[in-house]
Symmetry: D2
Amino acid sequence: MSIVLGPNQYGKAEVRLVRVDRDTPRHRITDLSITSQLRGDFRATHESGDNTGVIATDTQKNTMYAFARDGVGSPETFLLRLARHFLAEPQVTGGRWRAEQYGWERIGPGADGGAAGGGADAAGHDHSFVRGAAERRTALVHADDAGLTVLAGLRDVTVLKSTGSEFSGFPRDRYTTLPETDDRVLATDVTAWWRYAPSFADAAGPADFDERFAAVRALLLTTFAELHSLALQQTAFAMGRAVLEAFGDIAEIRLSCPNNHHFLVDLEPFGLDNPGEVFFAADRPYGLIEAAVQRSEGGPDNPEHPVWSTIGGFV
Amino acid sequence: MSIVLGPNQYGKAEVRLVRVDRDTPRHRITDLSITSQLRGDFRATHESGDNTGVIATDTQKNTMYAFARDGVGSPETFLLRLARHFLAEPQVTGGRWRAEQYGWERIGPGADGGAAGGGADAAGHDHSFVRGAAERRTALVHADDAGLTVLAGLRDVTVLKSTGSEFSGFPRDRYTTLPETDDRVLATDVTAWWRYAPSFADAAGPADFDERFAAVRALLLTTFAELHSLALQQTAFAMGRAVLEAFGDIAEIRLSCPNNHHFLVDLEPFGLDNPGEVFFAADRPYGLIEAAVQRSEGGPDNPEHPVWSTIGGFV
Amino acid sequence: MSIVLGPNQYGKAEVRLVRVDRDTPRHRITDLSITSQLRGDFRATHESGDNTGVIATDTQKNTMYAFARDGVGSPETFLLRLARHFLAEPQVTGGRWRAEQYGWERIGPGADGGAAGGGADAAGHDHSFVRGAAERRTALVHADDAGLTVLAGLRDVTVLKSTGSEFSGFPRDRYTTLPETDDRVLATDVTAWWRYAPSFADAAGPADFDERFAAVRALLLTTFAELHSLALQQTAFAMGRAVLEAFGDIAEIRLSCPNNHHFLVDLEPFGLDNPGEVFFAADRPYGLIEAAVQRSEGGPDNPEHPVWSTIGGFV
Amino acid sequence: MSIVLGPNQYGKAEVRLVRVDRDTPRHRITDLSITSQLRGDFRATHESGDNTGVIATDTQKNTMYAFARDGVGSPETFLLRLARHFLAEPQVTGGRWRAEQYGWERIGPGADGGAAGGGADAAGHDHSFVRGAAERRTALVHADDAGLTVLAGLRDVTVLKSTGSEFSGFPRDRYTTLPETDDRVLATDVTAWWRYAPSFADAAGPADFDERFAAVRALLLTTFAELHSLALQQTAFAMGRAVLEAFGDIAEIRLSCPNNHHFLVDLEPFGLDNPGEVFFAADRPYGLIEAAVQRSEGGPDNPEHPVWSTIGGFV
């Protein structure tokens, strides 16, 4: 028995790339943080510091900037281009390319600038923008022997229902003190990843990926808003199911939803009632609900798609 | 000579208060982080741990929650109510109450939920919301022997111009390497505080403060968007001047604007030009431009209003 | 084909638990952030909001605090106790319990308080402490049908070599501009997880886990310090190998090491040389080196231990 | 009446400078984040974008790096050198230079590396280091018409007493629910700034500033540890007084101390007592205690030193 190198990957992380499309006076900006990680035959550098095959992480960064000269398109198509470029090197047998996109809106002609919306790309200033919500759009391309897999997602879409949420019927043991409730605030920061079926991923262009992202995001929000919730688990599953029902070429979706507790403040000591109006929003601890929604042929009895083991990285 | 207590203040910081107005099925939410700090005769606790006069910070927190039972109104009016309450105690001779407000938008009926806007409060879901931009609205009430002063502001309004910004004509010394440019990306996170004249602060109700905030925010954004910028200093000053010109009852305004550098990437090594299209967005270091805009009677030759020395706290 | 629930887990995250051991006047403190996540038969709550089997996340939190009344021991033993408790419920078939521990040192009798060390637990104040380095000790217990697995680790151990690091011999393509160097600053924030063989995990008590943690940490640091580095990959692999060589009951170890770039500042424009003395420490982007070190019987050709797919969670 | 420019300053913020002293094989590293801000006659750039007098923030950054070629010395002496350099320009009439220093310790020869200490600079590796506590040392030089003022300080020195702290005797009103306690956990993150008398600041060299910093830090910690606390206000004041008593050439000191609440968990529902052993460490809200300690000739009836109004910046 000896000590050997196991799975490994390396690359450049969080490359901040801002692309200005300025072919007309009406500029467009694409604001990304991109991470490139390569897998393959890199034993020599680990075992002896022989870097013969190590495409420098600096080179990976340069490649992103050089490719951006041709335009970014959608995050998914840009990552696919990077993936194919690096996979052309013989020592590279796989990898993982990931992007987070920050949203910008045109500063509007009306009184409320960007944050209150307008949003309509038809209006607003030609080359002045205001940052939108803290949420980010995400994309990931994973490559292994089986080929390329494309994920899309979003992070930290913070949503809240001020009613229409219950939580009751749970078991009570020696350590249970939580009262049942038929009306609570439900709040979470939705993070989701969905995996495109190859039929979609192979054929889609930038506009397809953009449009699909917007449609999935809207569906997630609408489902959160409209479902009367008996548990955050129910809400999360319903959000995922709605996406799979609407889009046959999305193979599966995973959601991670912290339960951002809003505790009703006890105002009785002050001689006041509190009919669901005054809340303390806690930071920690928080509930954490995580679930995959799948199609039955890829369900619990089937092996997990390998892309998921790489989502969290090694740590 | 002896060692004595100098200026001091104490209180409860970052109380997270969420108020749901639910008198009709169309809920409204107000999401605040509030800090209360009292000044006055607190020598005994400092010198000997005698807490006879020390209104517990826990009590300050409770007071916020109890008052919220009556509704919050605008952040400014809520802070004024807190200030007047605590100033009624004889040992309290001054203080500082501050709020940050997080924005929420109704989840929309259309495809783009909240982040892309709609915003129009007329549309959207009755009790389901999505968090808006990362920026926060701020408010501060300061009390001293001279009375109450009201500031309003905003934080981290991130804006960017993809053209319409130059920087040249600066002096060149031994340590100057920066090239002059007649076209650069200009990006900043606007933080601003403006001081209301007593004439406004004393008479305004919640709707007045809300409306004024929205109008100032829009004017700051519009000015940023429309000015052809020769320096971030010029832009910041113009933004402040526009506000003072538009609103005679705003006494002065201060702006703090980091220069979020976007460096044009040198693509020449790759045989490519880069006509203002591919940028590296740097985190640190950043420029930092800070300026007060005042009316001439309160200008450089006049003493600074005491509220400003408390803005940054002691540290 | 239908839409079904895939892998899922839920629980309470980042429960901040501080335990003071005060059986003698010489107190000891254990400062933890703990996350408990359960897996099992939770289809009903996802599909219909039936919470009959859902042990409330609030109950999971309460259980931690109640168990802490008996003492915490080491993070690993505390998590094992939690795991066994929840696994006794029939609907719970697996789970994941994780802790981060913050370090505290006694405020010392000497001039340099705690941060400069002393550290020796024999010295220092009985009940006054100062927070140590930003790094955290971590532990994780994973349960599935195959039983319990114990990982230990550390996060954000920031280390730097001011010489003794090279990087050269890497391939040069169209996008390569990085010069080779035979003397650079090498800096990283080490995050590592190692998996204990069942032989150790099943028999170890709190003192064994504590002692082993300290020994692994020291070995990682010493190896980083002493190896003349030709690549961060080589350093990371050597650190892991040293651990496996020293401890036969550690089955494998994974390291994630950002390359915190320190760029030599070009002082030539100012008429100065820079013989490895003045550096700009960059925030982003950074290199990212990740590797598993294994024993040959668990090597690349063998299936991955299932614990690793849960390390990053779903997202 | 017209609209005019009020107080203003500009510069480069958070320049990350790492200096390696390598004249012998036993290297030393100085790790700083430096901010330079100039004040003076900068009306033209604000009013019309005329940058004739604007020393570019990029030039300010370059100057730091160039000066570092000669060595850094202590943060205070380095900032003084920067201040004097920029003040030599006629349009610069004042400014503010600030540094934060990160601590590093040599990786030790023993089993416990750096975090557990050793610390002794006599031991440990020649050129391999581990980052120390999260706390930072700070320094600030302020220049105005009255000359140069030097502050030194520290940030986020997190300390905790597991006993020896009470809080009682405070007034009870309608909104008071906090019980009195004669034994609680007291925890805070100490931030302090002290102002050196010109007699010290003008004569001190790097070693003097370093030694003084270490002595003040130790005294703050020791006082926190040894005082039986009746209120955090009492503790903070005692810490400051101890410094002024020990060092006649420190003119005044300001402390900002959040009260990091540790709430005793109620275990009664689980049939358990909790004799000061199991705590929930809360994030927000927190108490916030801020106080200046002064000498009587500079006490409450005397005007505040102008440096303090610049500590928090404009916002």
